[in-house]
């Protein structure tokens, strides 16, 4: 394509040709399908650029009849409107679902990652101190992690313990410190989370300095964490 044609092409797409020039250009396009295709592609590209820079430069004032521009402008505005609305609708949702949070400032816990769409994410909410309940939970969790690993299916599991459930993660009370450590070593996609509110309350109300098993992460508010996970698309299981 000659450079003069290229100039014409740009002017045509911008709707800056006079009526006569336009007619001439349209004639050229009819004979040259490649030119027609480029005109359309350039039109789309410009439309996308205008979306990226939300306010386009002010239109240059020029004389002359520009009858034909309305069709392109309507098409472009329609596309942009639709793109804007669709993007506004879809983007936040996706961003929300695919975000992972590192649980503490030292970078422990699960690394931030973009979740694959088929990744299964489960947050177990433990508020019960019964060791039998905890034992069954650990067996379930281990069984699931092993099965998903064997099938190469992505999975993330968090066990959030608060109130009486904190017993599972307390050094002095837990019956499963070693088991928790083994599980945490074996499965990087498993995290045990303790609620700081519960820890603080035990100190204030009962003078207990809680010592956690080394594999436990601490989060400010257990319930808030569970809510956030649900908003991020995790499945919720109350133990």
């Amino acid at each position: 394509m000659s450079s003069s044609n290229e100039l014409d092409l740009n002017a045509f797409v911008d709707g800056e040709l006079t009526a006569d020039q336009q007619a001439e250009f349209l004639e050229a396009m009819r004979d040259d399908p490649e030119l027609a295709r480029q005109a359309c592609e350039l039109g789309q590209l410009k439309a996308q650029l205008r979306l990226a820079y939300a306010s386009p430069p002010p239109p240059r004032l020029r004389g002359g009849a520009r009858v034909g521009a309305s069709w392109r402008a309507i098409a472009a505005s329609g596309i942009l409107l639709v793109l804007g609305v669709v993007a506004g609708w879809l983007l936040p949702d996706d961003v929300e679902r695919n975000r992972f949070v590192v649980l503490d400032a030292d970078g422990r816990g699960q690394t931030p990652a973009t979740a694959a769409n088929d990744e299964t994410r489960i947050v177990f909410h433990l508020t019960n101190a019964d060791p039998l309940v905890a034992a069954e939970l650990l067996d379930e969790v281990e069984g699931m992690l092993a099965a998903y690993q064997a099938d190469h299916r992505p999975l993330r599991v968090e066990v959030v313990s608060h109130s009486d459930g904190l017993a599972l993660l307390r050094q002095s009370l837990t019956a499963y410190g070693t088991r928790i450590h083994e599980l945490a070593q074996r499965f990087p996609n498993l995290t045990f989370v303790a609620c700081r509110n519960t820890i603080d309350r035990l100190r204030v109300e009962r003078g207990i300095e809680v010592r956690l098993v080394p594999d436990a992460e601490v989060i400010d508010s257990g319930v808030n964490h569970v809510v956030r996970r649900q908003k991020e698309g995790w499945s919720y299981i109350r133990v």
Partner: protein
């Protein structure tokens, strides 16, 4: 006038218009997808993991009340029995198999309640894993459970249903 007509013809040949039509279609489709959950039947999964007969009875009552509000055709309700919750569907002759502290609860009022809910379209799924853990390895101890409703893992099933759009309630 002549110019305008020519340009009109050209406009229909331009792929831009196809893109536009496609995007409008996409928008309509997206809108429909967003609107759909409101008009569709409510999908709810109840998770029962408690072996206490009183709590189980009240859970059945919750499900019945829920159906009363929505109408039998207005809801798709699945009850997943997991952990000690599996005792809800155990016939009395399972009692000798069970560890201490657990009772086989599919008897009397509870049994009637279960059968009534089944007639109204409620599905009861039982975790095979939890049954085995409690010494139950034969489905003759269960109250008419379809083999398809004996799921390998209750937790996995709860996750699967939630991912399929079911709302989770733990009564």
């Amino acid at each position: 006038m002549y110019d305008r007509q020519r340009e009109f013809r050209f406009a229909w040949k331009c792929p831009l218009w196809f893109c536009f039509a496609g995007l409008v279609g996409l928008l309509v489709w997206t809108g429909a997808a967003y609107a759909a959950p409101d008009s569709a039947r409510q999908q709810v999964v109840y998770h029962i993991s408690d072996g206490d007969p009183d709590r189980q009875r009240s859970a059945l009552r919750n499900v019945a009340n829920h159906l009363n509000i929505l109408g039998d055709d207005g809801a798709d309700i699945v009850v997943v029995l997991q952990g000690d919750g599996v005792t809800l569907l155990l016939r009395p002759d399972a009692q000798p198999q069970l560890p201490g502290g657990l009772s086989a609860n599919a008897t009397g009022e509870v049994r009637i309640g279960i059968e009534d809910l089944r007639l109204r379209g409620v599905r009861f799924e039982v975790c095979a894993h939890s049954l085995a853990r409690r010494g139950i390895d034969d489905d003759r101890y269960l109250l008419d459970v379809d083999p398809a409703d004996l799921v390998p893992s209750g937790i996995d099933e709860l996750v699967r249903l939630q991912r399929a759009g079911y709302t989770y309630i733990k009564p």
